[in-house]
Symmetry: C2
Subunit: 134 residues, 2 copies
């Protein structure tokens, strides 16, 4: 299998584990300084500090019950830029305490930093569903 | 409306006109040297010369009947990188000579070159449908 795909898969798995563990310091090491996160359709935040705050708020919103796992993944590369298309499963607890699983088809853009590490520059877990947002 | 969104919208409209007119020299001025085009799921080509050849082959495949137009568009920016999520309508002629319209939900990655011009680095008109490709 493609080396870049494998490398990015490991990075995204590490991010998912960090989100699930609410280890936001580790999570932030995978984002570029000026990265942008789509918090929800119509709401974007830019910069590590803002992204970290958004993840803290998301964890609180889901009452610390969020578990993120991956499904199928494809990568399109161009030099030091990679577009990731990915199935993401978001498991949370509903108001009745029962688990609720949401599947998203995410789009992530990664850039290879000068040190050779891939960093997330655009994190849009809503993928092309964003087109329908008002 | 957002300035970068307007700028990218005009660039993509110019690309669509160039594809429809089969003016591939003009089209190539909007792609980075090392850009990657998803020709179809599972088939990517990298570099201007390869992308140009793919567009020539696509035009022949559709018997020079292809008309490309845009629908809704959203942009997520991070510094000199922009992710475009976009409805793309592809009108071609079927075997019976009748027009066939295909709607795609595309994902494009643009980078701002040092001269300040936005160039397409990843052209994936299949969007997250690529996840389902074998």
């Amino acid at each position: 299998m493609d080396a870049v795909l494998q490398e990015l898969k490991h990075i995204i798995q590490a991010c998912d584990r960090a989100i699930t563990a609410e280890d936001f310091d580790t999570l932030m090491t995978y984002y570029a300084d000026d990265a942008t996160l789509v918090v929800k359709p119509g709401m974007h935040v830019t910069g590590r500090a803002q992204i970290r705050r958004a993840f803290v708020a998301i964890a609180e919103y889901f009452k610390h019950s969020m578990v993120v796992t991956q499904g199928e993944m494809k990568v399109v590369e161009s030099g030091d830029t990679a577009l990731v298309l990915m199935q993401t499963m978001l498991q949370t607890k509903g108001d009745d305490g029962q688990p609720v699983t949401t599947e998203r088809r995410a789009t992530y853009v990664f850039r290879k930093a000068s040190a050779g590490q891939w960093l997330c520059v655009i994190d849009n877990s809503y993928g092309t569903d964003l087109i329908d947002a008002v």
